[in-house]
Point group: C2
Chain length 460, copies 2
């Protein structure tokens, strides 16, 4: 029988350690040991470099062995070459360390018997000692808001805007690529990776994040290193706490699944299982990785339930209005004709030559006169058949209307999706939009309507 | 019988005017007349403001009427309210002006008889005088490299890197949104819009651009304002000149097509017609507007013909390698096993724990040691079964390897696609990649493999 989820309590030594040992600490700049120590610069607890070759590294006392430490660390990061990892993990278990993080590769992902056996031994050591193991072949983890990094890559700084996303990625490199969304203003609480997942897996991370209350939604990507039962259970824990999950599974193709064996040694279920899992676990499935963060951002910002099943479309460009309708059709989202009262409000807001319809093309007037867009947004969000507003945003420019969209979303209890149509992908205005706690930013109408459709369907 | 295409010669007064009249010129900052004049600041020919209320605007002599001009302008921009447009167009025809550009809205897109009739009268005046008409309800056009703007919106400055894309958009606002790609380093030659397309339509623009030799590929988006025969003919003209076309049609859904009526008065054919048209005209169909510019960029940079039907995948992250294989599977692109000689080269390049496969996960070593990626790229591009290289790029950072990818692409006569996996969408390194004339930049593996598949299929 597979084990139950490691809950937040069991993972606290990893998520909120008071002391960290770095076994294999090093002053050599590019080494994993040095990069890990650099990442611990702002760590609020105690840091113990361990390496018999040094007595001091970067101003910190360096200990020859784990046994020399003045206390037992909550977590030990094993920044050693593979041939020295097992002994270090055994030493940690003997010392009573709460958890270890293992970077080294060369285990199950080699697809060779020895690698798989070595990985199983690491898992067994941890299991017998009640010590959590993250990895091997992993990049570590970070709590970005508390500046706590247990890992060697460069993690982004936190952005404290609106409702945060917790990011869980089996793959370290992919997780870090996604986490760079923080550089364009996306609020992330954590980046948690699991690599070969010999003990702690993505399901454990999801459940613990949901329990932590630190994030409003979770972005999850993984290939197969977690059993279905645990993923479903993690989904239920998250749902009970109102934390929504956007999920993207790697290896949906047969060849991709084969490749996953060589990455983290994961055995990947067929694509159909992904769809079924999402339905059962309450995950919002994301087909393309580039939509994962924006979908999670929407789920973090949208209210719990839609007040109606249709979308309003408010655009300053007729072309983007057509594209928005096309995307809504593709995802089965209704674009209801406005009620009589809404038509009257639209007429009052619009220039004479614009049609009081849904979608509403407010024409180029939206840049000349900001009030036009405001009137259209108020009219559509007030319509009883409309549960969310899609606002394709044509040109990169700063505008008070961005804050207005946030205010209107809050006032109506309906989410506003600002779809950035400009190919100046990080042009002026978009960081401001991302910072609005009630405005979801997409760079694809298709991803937007897919997310809205899933949100509306989940509430059924 | 529908008219033949306006060729480059017939559109030269628009694309290479020596003199421009602005009818409705104005000093009022936000007015279309003022914005048009501002856009003509760097225009190398003569500019004639026309407005009976002023004798001078911004240091230029202003003429009371068209009859007062010292010469006949090649083109007149009609920046007037709708009720004064028809007389102005008639005046231009009488004076022998080569072409007019009409901004005013309120014509066929109103879906009212009067609007359609007024538009038909404009077309008739132009047709009888042999005077080209752009619009009405259009944003104008620009030759970005020559700094020639006949329009009121803010057009981007040109980026002279690599092989340029000509952008043709029926919708002005959408065209400008896409044109902001220049801000992230995409080389654009022109932005040409047609609005309601009562005379000059997107097919004319495509054919003229192809004839001009100014661009290596064309990005086309439109809703229906051009007959199929002319689009096919334009596609053939482009194909004969080696200019490839990425095409995205708006209004693929029934509701979207209905919306197009209210935008530019266009009657849009069903979605099936788009697929058939692309096959016949040799357009590469693009399903999602956000992929249009990157697909056109790939077509501008890729060699004429693939040397083989498979792709190589060189990644620094196992996760992105899996996703790349998934995308290749989705689009039916082969990821061939490497030849024996390639395996040997991969082994020599890779660290011991990495597998000499295709896809090749070169592991995090690619950032620590740039030579690893170079060896992998050379090995895969040298494989006789591989016609293009897909390189998922995990982290935003500047690297000499970007220039290496360009050099390797040229040396092998095979395109390299750098797929920017970082969610720091305009982070360090990506402008440098875009500037490489032989490296196509995508931000979506799916868009990348769709483009590669279409390129390989077209060459059959």
């Amino acid at each position: 029988m597979p084990r139950a989820l490691h809950g937040l309590a069991a993972l606290r030594s990893l998520l909120a350690p008071r002391s960290v040992a770095v076994i294999g600490a090093s002053p050599t700049p590019a080494s994993m040991g040095a990069r890990t120590l650099a990442n611990l610069q702002g760590f609020p607890g105690r840091v113990f470099p361990v390496n018999g070759r040094y007595t001091e590294i970067g101003g910190r006392r360096c200990f020859a062995t784990l046994a020399d430490l003045p206390g037992t660390p909550d977590v030990a990061i094993i920044a050693l070459a593979k041939d020295r990892v097992e002994q270090a993990v055994a030493d940690c278990a003997a010392r009573g360390v709460g958890a270890v993080v293992i970077y080294a590769a060369g285990y199950a992902e080699t697809q060779e018997v020895e690698g798989a056996a070595a990985q199983a031994r690491l898992a067994a050591i941890g299991r017998e000692a009640g010590m959590r193991v993250v990895g091997p072949n992993c990049a570590g983890l970070a709590d970005l808001r508390r500046g706590m990094v247990l890992g060697f890559p460069e993690f982004p700084a936190s952005v404290a805007n609106g409702r945060a996303i917790g990011l869980v990625s089996q793959s370290g490199a992919l997780g870090l690529a996604l986490a760079q969304a923080a550089q364009r203003g996306v609020a992330l609480s954590h980046v948690l990776t699991s690599g070969n997942s010999c003990d702690v897996d993505v399901a454990d991370w999801v459940a613990a994040l949901a329990e932590s209350g630190d994030c409003a939604a979770i972005a999850l990507c993984w290939e197969g290193g977690a059993p279905r039962d645990r993923l479903v259970e993690a989904g239920r824990i998250a749902a009970a706490r109102g934390v929504r999950i956007a999920a993207c599974r790697l290896g949906l193709s047969v060849l991709g699944a084969e490749q996953a064996l060589f990455h983290t040694g994961s055995v990947v279920a067929p694509a159909e299982d992904f769809t079924g899992l999402c339905a059962e676990a309450g995950f919002v499935p994301v087909q393309r990785i580039e939509a994962l963060i924006e979908t999670a951002g929407f789920l973090a910002k949208a209210p719990a339930r839609p007040l109606a099943r249709g979308v309003g479309i408010a655009s300053g460009s007729g072309g983007t209005a057509i594209l928005a309708v096309d995307a809504a059709s593709r995802h089965g989202v209704a674009v209801p004709a406005p009620a009589a009262e809404t038509v009257a409000k639209l007429r009052a807001a619009l220039p004479a030559f614009a049609a009081p319809r849904n979608p509403c093309d407010a024409t180029a007037q939206v840049t000349a006169n900001p009030q036009v867009l405001r009137g259209v947004v108020d009219a559509l969000l007030g319509d009883p058949a409309i549960g969310a507003l899609v606002c394709p945003w044509g040109k990169a420019y700063r505008s008070d209307n961005i804050a207005f969209l946030g205010e209107a979303a809050r006032r109506n209890g309906k989410p506003v999706c600002l779809v950035w149509m400009s190919q100046w992908l990080e042009g002026p205005g978009v960081i401001e939009a991302e910072a609005e706690p009630d405005v979801a930013v997409f760079r694809s109408l298709d991803s937007c309507l897919a997310a809205v459709a899933a949100w509306m369907a989940q509430a059924r």
